[in-house]
């Protein structure tokens, strides 16, 4: 506690909220987290992005002191779980991926229950206001929509005015509107100076919310940086994505020689061209198709995203679709 306070007092210094080194966790033969290093600064929103099974949840649960690591060191707000568990629990807010809140308690009763565990914090009324559930105060949890339940779960994490908010896939399974509402709640928390550690497999969410993103795959971090930097690391801003009819193929060398093409990658029978300028590449691609007698089954173009970053790093998609 004193360590954290001292760090924050140094002018100009960026305090560290979460620091972990060499984090390792095995379940039997499966290595869920494989020597992970991570640093989250006070006040930033840090995203762990990766497909299911990448080790995101295990990492977050170790950081929250719920699961012991097999190896590695974790420091949160300058404290450790071994020494300062009781104090840390007072200062962290948590939403867990699989938790279902009690069905037959009302919104207000649920928040009141969680509020009672903390020495200090916000009033239940204030939290209901923050997560937009004031009108549902006397509704049983079981009668809330998926988005409302998820906002309540985040509300339970906010009752203690946490310094760090842990969110494990907070918007998975929600409709776009509910997702945006929840993003609003998170943005508000950040405006008040809160630190957020978020896991997600939605690249849009990571791009929208996170200052920095760590892309995780198979228990390791394979890329780290601001979303825009990561996308920029592809060397081009656009992606041309196409598939050929009747399993036709084009020579990769020919594709690389097309104007504006930076990278060529194939996955799941489709070809992805990372390009600088779409309007130069596409006509040239059409010409190449005509010459080689191949027929298109589909063609789309989009701005490069973190999904493309993941694809270019692993050759696999972020989500199994």
């Amino acid at each position: 506690m004193s360590g954290f306070g001292a760090e924050r007092a140094v002018p100009g210094a960026v305090a560290t909220a979460i620091l972990c080194r060499g984090l390792t966790k095995r379940y039997g033969d499966v290595v869920a987290v494989d020597g992970l290093d991570l640093e989250v600064r006070v006040g930033e929103c840090f995203g762990l992005l990766g497909p299911n099974g990448a080790g995101k949840t295990t990492t977050v649960e170790i950081l929250q002191g719920l699961v012991p690591a097999d190896a590695g060191a974790v420091t949160i707000l300058g404290m450790t779980w071994e020494r300062d568990a009781a104090e840390l629990r007072q200062r962290l807010g948590s939403q867990l991926q699989e938790t279902k809140l009690a069905d037959k308690l009302t919104v207000r009763e649920t928040l009141k229950l969680f509020r009672s565990f903390y020495r200090r914090g916000r009033s239940v009324e204030e939290v209901m206001e923050m997560v937009g559930l004031s009108e549902k105060r006397d509704t049983w949890v079981v009668k809330l929509s998926g988005g409302q339940r998820q906002r309540l779960a985040v509300g339970c994490a906010l009752v203690c005015e946490p310094e760090i908010l842990f969110l494990d896939e907070p918007t998975t399974g929600l409709d776009p509107q509910s997702r945006r509402q929840l993003w609003g709640v998170i943005a508000e928390f950040r405006q008040r100076g809160g630190t957020v550690l978020l896991t997600t497999h939605y690249m849009e969410e990571a791009e929208r919310l996170c200052d920095r993103v760590a892309v995780m795959d198979r228990g390791r971090i394979i890329a780290l940086g601001a979303p825009r930097e990561l996308v920029a690391s592809l060397g081009a801003e656009h992606v041309v994505e196409f598939g050929l009819a009747d399993g036709g193929r084009l020579d990769e060398g020919d594709l690389r020689r097309l104007p504006g093409v930076v990278n060529v990658r194939t996955a799941d029978g489709k070809t992805y061209l990372t390009v600088r300028r779409v309007h130069e590449t596409v006509p040239a691609l059409m010409q190449l198709l005509a010459v080689s007698g191949a027929a298109l089954s589909e063609l789309t173009t989009h701005h490069a995203t973190l999904e493309d970053v993941f694809l270019s790093l692993t050759g696999r998609h972020l989500r199994d679709e």
């Binding site: 867990l96 938790t99 009690a102 009672s116 009033s123 204030e126």
Partner: protein, 345 residues
């Protein structure tokens, strides 16, 4: 900034609210024992023993035999053809078949208690009809005392069964459900004290226990005039001790189970033998002598014995040291093991 409520109070309120908002649970805890007591109290109420149904085969000189038996007290005779009589004997609809002739033959299954009774009555009736006279005078004095009827035996047993059932289901089910929906994990991520979580289950139990015990005892008293002879303090002590014992057992059963199905199976393995053996519906002295020491060690046996002693016989707690001590032992052992092996995640 605001002040939060007391965590123990909030946790206990959670338990109570969740239970009150579950109408099915309310039925099983409060209404079911009363329905059961009512049904069994009526079925085995204080009526004279039913007459035993026997058959006389329609062969030879059956009329004098039939009229002698049908008029005998405690017997009800029917006339049947041999094949029909045989069938009814086999299916247990008659306790015994009389085959007329000289000598008359009694056909019955000697392992059936009812048949054995029928044999004594038929033997006596036939000898009397043939002219036998009693050589010694015997007088009967009939007793029907409050406290000695079946309902008086049954009600404390149902109370014990209910204390066991609601203690184990109430605590075991709620904990496994909370663990199963990963809510236990979420609570663990908060500064909630584990001891307060477990203690809130006990407190909520005590709240409902008062209601269920008082309602069943009042029902027995008003409807069947079941006496409550012990002091309220003695009864309360036995009831609370019993509830704690089974709260411990419920906690133990729920300490590691991950699914509702898993814990339901375990509950039944633990409870069904005690429903049968521990003297809920009938006295455990009916079981073979070899089983008695084991039956007497069961926690429900101890609770039922203690309840009958204080409620029906009006004994003080000093007289039931053995069952009370046994319950304390069970409770301490169960809590001790449960807390050691309890799985929070």
């Amino acid at each position: 900034m605001s002040r939060g409520g007391n965590p123990l109070v909030e946790l206990t309120l959670w338990r109570i609210r969740e239970f009150l908002r579950e109408p099915e649970a309310l039925f099983w805890v409060f209404a079911f024992p009363i329905v059961l007591a009512f049904a069994l109290g009526l079925a085995f109420g204080s009526r004279p023993p039913q007459s035993v149904r026997i058959a006389v085969e329609r062969t030879g000189q059956f009329e004098p035999l039939f009229s002698a038996l049908d008029s005998a007290s405690g017997l009800r005779a029917v006339l049947l053809d041999p094949a029909a009589a045989e069938r009814e004997l086999r299916t247990g609809r008659v306790a015994l078949v009389v085959v007329p002739g000289e000598p008359a033959v009694l056909r019955f299954d000697s392992t059936r208690q009812e048949s054995y009774l029928a044999r004594l009555l038929v033997y006596d009736a036939l000898q009397r009809a043939a002219g036998r006279r009693d050589v010694r005078e015997i007088r009967e004095s009939k007793v029907r005392e409050r406290g000695a009827r079946y309902i008086d035996f049954l009600l404390p047993g149902l109370l014990g069964m209910n204390i066991m059932g609601t203690g184990m289901w109430g605590i075991g089910f709620a904990i496994v459900k909370t663990r199963n929906q990963k809510l236990l994990k979420r609570l663990l991520a908060s500064p909630m004290r584990k001891s307060q979580y477990l203690f809130s289950h006990i407190l909520a139990r005590m709240f409902f226990l008062t209601l269920e015990v008082v309602s069943l005892l009042l029902f027995g008293y008003w409807v069947f005039d079941v006496p409550v002879r012990g002091s309220a303090w003695d009864i309360a002590l036995v009831v609370v001790l019993g509830a704690m014992t089974f709260a411990g057992l419920g906690l133990l059963v729920a300490s590691r189970a991950q699914t509702i199905e898993g814990v339901s199976g375990l509950m039944n393995v633990v409870m069904v033998p005690m429903w049968i053996c521990s003297g809920v519906f009938f006295a455990y002295s009916n079981f073979p002598d070899a089983m008695q020491p084991f039956i007497k060690l069961l926690p429900l046996t101890a609770l039922n014995d203690a309840l009958r002693a204080v409620i029906i016989e009006g004994m003080g707690v000093a007289a039931i040291g053995w069952p009370l001590g046994l319950m304390v032992l069970w409770g301490v052992a169960c809590f001790g093991v449960a807390l050691r092996v309890f799985r929070w995640l």
